[in-house]
Symmetry: C3
Subunit: 171 residues, 3 copies
């Protein structure tokens, strides 16, 4: 995934404009994974006016392997944070697939983070920070979001983390 | 519940127009249940501009009995899927109560599905498909939605499934 | 926190207008707590057009102490309801911080209530009523909302209840 997109301008001349957010991702030595296909009968995103709703993204790496396990049992907080960062990259991949460019994201409005955790685990915010930090690192002010972080009894396929998103986009 | 609504057109002539989505429900040998009354101090839906927010709908059948139990313990995936389908019918019933016609639903934008499940259960997507499939069967393209599926520690009254919805509607 | 705000009108004359909702809070012998600071890397609210998204608010009292514990184990339903009422006050505090006046809330559109509960607990609606009742008591019709109530495996810091909100506001 390159940090430059080729676009046809209205005068027909082909120009290359840098996607600032995609470039920032590259400076972090990160790349967008392929946007994950839905695991069931639904769509990955819907754009309604200027609001982009993104389906819950599991903690799946760019190579497609699922980061699974339960916080408070078989995963450390750092492993949980890495799982949340994988969710973040998948959210960004879906946004890129929907919008063509990451820098069309005007604001990450809402993230809801579900942590696969035991009843005695209480550091859900530290886990979901793996996603929150990534959003701010890549998108800057546009990445600052409202958030919900909770511990759930289980997640699809035994995933460690699932996060859904609502974004405001530039038209 | 009939698949036809009587409406007064602007010229005052009473005509009958088929509600295509309601008709499709009938061809599936299904009927809208009564829209469930809220179980506490809240309202079943709010229409904000063209977005319809629907409260979490429990897996309650048209006759009012609650489909309860826990996936991974006392319910099979098929029973879970049937519970999610019951949630779908209740969401459609609320939309019909709010809009007067099912085919005023322009798009099911978001479904969030909560599955009452043990920590080792991991087939939440198959369960929530009971709702997703119903939406697409009844509404076609307008029924295709973004989705979140998670396993929760418990649900009101011990319900097997709860699902909330955000819909875009035709004005 | 007074029920009156000083505002500069366009003619430069300083006037005092009563915030009806804030006044109602006072008649209930309640006051707005300080708007809680986020516990991690996110923001407490985002205003998008006329929709105010508020981050998940924990059951924290005005003095800052966290109401923690698990329904079905170490908390009664009444204690859970009090925890949900604390969430309500924190939601109102965030709305006041965002809007300057509580009576700019046109409608509480959606509340999602997460109850820290054992798998056998089933009275989540009674717990979340502690928030729902507060919204209606303080805001009247504008406080009536759609709602989701679920039981979760755990919450940040071991909080008893977390509730997030979407509000429509007057511009």
């Amino acid at each position: 995934m390159l940090a430059k997109n080729s676009v046809n301008l209205t005068d027909g001349k082909l120009e290359t404009m840098t996607d600032a957010a995609l470039a920032r991702l590259a400076t972090l030595n990160l790349a967008l994974p392929p946007a994950p296909a839905p695991v069931a009968n639904y769509v990955p995103y819907h754009l309604v006016d200027d609001m982009l709703f993104i389906s819950g993204q599991l903690s799946r790496t760019g190579s497609g392997s699922l980061l699974s396990g339960r916080l408070g049992a078989d995963l450390t907080v750092d492993q949980g944070r890495a799982a949340a960062a994988a969710c973040a990259l998948n959210i960004l991949a879906q946004a890129h697939a929907a919008l063509g460019r990451l820098d069309r994201i005007a604001q990450v409005v809402r993230l809801t983070g579900y942590v696969n955790a035991t009843p005695d685990f209480s550091d859900h915010p530290l886990v979901i920070n793996g996603c929150s930090d990534m959003m701010v690192d890549v998108l800057g002010e546009a990445g600052r979001h409202t958030r919900v972080a909770i511990g759930v009894a289980g997640l699809p396929g035994g995933a460690a983390v699932e996060i859904d998103a609502i974004l405001r986009v530039r038209k």
